[in-house]
Subunit: 521 residues, 2 copies
């Protein structure tokens, strides 16, 4: 189901109940770009530590926009022995909520945009009809603003946004607005003494409206209801009505309800993420580290500096995660699956020794045909990811005695895969462990080499040709890690390099020490 | 006429001849955002110097994308006594030309995107069908790449991109590729001794292709034509053909022509800007400083640091500019025109004492109906801008004796408006003078005031209430310029502030001195 600003509010109950009844959820995001670093190979060095990788992704990826979010809910129906799915494809855009709300800037990467365009991605749906959102801080801020205004128009307490100078007297009207405010007061006096119930003032500036509110609140503390009304042309004017105390209270209440509604609209898509989070359900994704980072960054809070703090936040937002790319790269799947890209994985999991999962689209939801792929639409990718999870989970059941054809999302068999997010292109650390400390592989066969920028990979192969197979991980155009196949060769390599002029070699341990000395803590 | 990647090449001759025959050109750009600074008011302080404004715009605006470019050509037809117009609306997008071409990142500002969306802007046309472009440096770089490859496959000279280590011997093939290259040589030998004319190698990496080119060039300097071919699936493989010397030359020539074509495609929209530039025609725009900056930045070269260098570059690219917003804000128009925004200007210039210009859309071009506005489509805005220019130019003719109803774009009467670009929201410098030094108004009635961040404009009014009318230009939330109406009050204000604790006052001269002391040159 496509969800845009137009049908978001009416669809929300359907979304909530789909999450509520689900056994697990699958998600996927599409972004306006991946990396604003110098190059992807620099962003994903094969010997990054988990901390280094997190810091790089945070620095070079979070200014892109997550503008399509796929959610597919999977509910197991015991009687039919199959999963019923509900798939939602959300378009997301930070449409400014009002003239004072944050004017979000985001980066687009032309290769990513071009790729999505070639897949038929509908940018107009994003930019014209995208659902807005607020993170928790913005939501709290907006809520405060409403409460402040409310307390002021009820005459309770000194509003904090009146500046020191003007807080002293009743209302400090700048010289050039005195005439204007004088005319407003006249109009209100005419209203009060006359038979009309309501008067509309002419459109004016926000500052003038503020002066009007303050003045009327002070001069006519009772008997008036004052409200800003917007015309179709988005012009704002003030409407003043004579009211008795009961009506005044009623009007205030209605205004509050309208404001609550406005607030909900502004929080927008974040409400869906809150619901996923509150449900505590297993959330499945494919190669999902960036999806998780973007989701938290956009809908919860700016990402913390430190990896451990990020893990803590992640566990609050998504208490149980599972990455199908990591699962497929782990035994017993690793030996059976040659290519773990989503499309390939899905294809291989339909064939022996795996079984295509028993899945049916819930009524009222468009069913995806996995034969005619719609890959790279977030809702479809989430759906496929869920299918992959089901196939792999069920395969684990075949090892039980007696074998079980269906393994639930809560089964103990799946626990080893919880909260381990695939780390792309790291040679010796397969995953980021969200709920505990990370693996710390030995790297004493690794050399750190610096050289002139004319050098190519072939120069490194030549330099180390005596040491058999090597693996090169470029850092930038004048340095790289070189992994030797045998640790005992490290010392030999170090010795032969002693008198070299064009290049320099350090052990990995030396390199890390020097690096830590230069990093402020 | 809408111009996208699909019809760009076939439309180019029409565009060239429209520019060629025109009396003047009007342009307009739409951007993915305006300012990534803290706020527009900070970006456009009322007392910016031209240097300060240029530096701010360069810093805070150039990372947005100019993604729609409007060009409207105006040719005066003597026999009909009217202008014939041709309007082009170009969609622009930096689609990566190849895997090695720059992957442009650009910023989007949600308020700008939302505004364009509300005007029905078609983002899909931009991102799916936008015309690519290269600046001059990128074009030169690509040309060099082609020439390098060509000289290498002709065996002429040592190509400069072979790294030092491998340049020594004939071809240095890394160990792990030796088998692969060996098999290629076998295949070629089979080709040479057999009856087939051509052999296709399997797809391989770019590095392997480079090795193949180098090896074959060295081992078989004659009798072979080697070429990279791309499959429909974008896989690249090498095709080797037996050829005699004549055919070899013919093939090389065809290849060169194809490459020239590819190069032209990559230069893309920049070719239109080159044509505008070469024509030397008068280029008219409305509030065009940002349009000019973006055009140069995107299609010529990164903007220079220094304003004077920018002026020089601008005069090379656009030897003759005219800004209708500046013209409308200058006498004799200033007193007649109350609102110089493009839509309002166009409306007012249809009424007395102005005359609606005699303009007709050229055959084959969609005609715009100015009654049902399509404002904020670049092609339409360019058209309207041209109309405004014609009306104002002709109005100048009414002062001649005898009055002339038509004033040409080359008339002396228009010269005073040349190369003066409107400076938005600067109080005392109406324009940036592109072809000379800028105005240097006295600012000795201006005070620089710093204060606590709780202060509002009303606090400043109150502080200076003894000095009559003042004008406040906010710098940031703790400082502003305050212009007094009389210079002789400056000293009084300075004196009374001597013992103030919450705020501080400096003269403008003092402020500028302190600022220059802190700016590295
Ligand atoms: N005292 C008081 N001030 C208000 C109230 N509503 C709005 N204002 C002030 O008036 C200004 C204009 O408000 P509004 O017309 O709602 O438009 P806004 O500029 O989008 O907030 C705001 O900046 C507030 O400071 C209210 O209920 N009471
Ligand atoms: N801050 C800043 N904004 C500008 C400048 N020039 C144009 N803009 C913004 O760009 C918007 C569109 O500009 P444009 O279409 O060229 O002129 P308009 O039709 O007179 O508004 C304007 O409303 C301004 O907010 C500038 O020099 N500084």
């Amino acid at each position: 189901m496509e969800v845009t600003r137009q049908n978001f509010k009416e669809t929300l109950p359907t979304i909530y109940s789909a999450i509520e009844e689900a056994d697990f959820l699958a998600i996927d995001g599409e972004f306006s770009g991946i990396s604003d670093g110098p190059s992807v190979s620099v962003l994903t060095n094969g010997l990054d530590t988990p901390e280094e990788r997190y810091v790089k992704l945070k620095k070079h990826s979070m200014e892109f926009l997550l503008f399509q979010f796929g959610l597919c809910t999977f509910r197991y129906d015991q009687t039919q022995s199959k999963y019923l799915t509900k798939s939602f494809n959300f378009y997301i855009f930070p449409k400014p909520f009002s003239r004072t709300s944050p004017d979000i800037k985001f980066i687009c990467q032309s290769s990513s945009i071009d790729f999505l365009a070639s897949q038929g991605f509908d940018f107009n749906k994003v930019f014209r009809d995208g659902i807005p959102y607020l993170n928790q801080e913005e939501e709290a801020h907006l809520r405060e603003q409403y409460e402040e205004r409310r307390s002021q128009s009820n005459g309770a307490g000194t509003p904090s946004y009146i500046s020191p100078a003007s807080a002293k007297g009743p209302v400090n009207v700048p010289e050039e607005h005195k005439d204007f405010i004088g005319r407003v007061i006249e109009k209100v006096e005419t209203l009060i003494s006359g038979s009309e119930k309501t008067v509309d003032l002419a459109p004016c500036t926000g500052f003038q409206r503020k002066l009007i509110y303050q003045t009327l609140n002070w001069r006519f503390p009772k008997g008036l209801h004052v409200e800003t009304v917007e015309t179709e042309k988005k012009e704002r004017f003030i409407q003043i009505s004579k009211v008795d105390e009961e009506e005044r209270r009623l009007r205030e209440q209605q205004k509050q309800e309208r404001e609550q509604e406005e607030l909900n609209d502004a929080v927008g898509f974040s409400r869906v993420v809150h619901a996923i989070s509150k449900s505590g359900k297993l959330v499945v994704g494919h190669n999902m580290l960036l999806d998780v980072m973007h989701t938290i960054h956009q809908f919860y809070c700016p990402l913390p500096e430190d990896l451990n703090d990020f893990k803590e936040v992640t566990m609050c937002v998504f208490p149980r995660l599972l990455d199908t790319k990591l699962m497929a790269s782990t035994q017993p799947f690793k030996d059976l699956i040659s290519n773990t890209s989503l499309a390939e994985l899905e294809r291989q999991l339909k064939e022996k020794p795996f079984k295509p999962p028993q899945v049916e689209c819930s009524e009222g939801f468009q069913s995806y045909d996995t034969a005619s792929e719609q890959l790279h639409e977030a809702g479809y990718d989430a759906y496929i990811t869920g299918l992959c999870f089901v196939s792999m989970a069920n395969y684990l059941g075949s090892f039980l005695t007696p074998p079980k054809p269906h393994i639930s999302a809560r089964s103990k068999l799946i626990e080893p895969f919880y909260n381990k997010l695939f780390l792309m292109r790291v040679l010796d650390i397969p995953y980021l462990n969200i709920s505990g400390p990370d693996l710390q592989p030995k790297r004493d066969h690794v050399l750190y080499v610096t050289f002139p920028k004319e050098w190519k990979t072939s120069d490194l192969y030549q330099l180390f040709s005596a040491f058999g197979n090597i693996q090169v991980s470029w850092i930038d155009d004048t340095s790289a890690f070189v992994s030797l196949s045998q640790t005992d060769q490290v010392q030999i390599a170090m010795n032969t390099s002693r008198y070299a002029e064009s290049y320099r070699i350090q052990t990995y341990a030396e390199y890390m020490q020097a690096k830590q000395r230069h990093t402020p803590t």
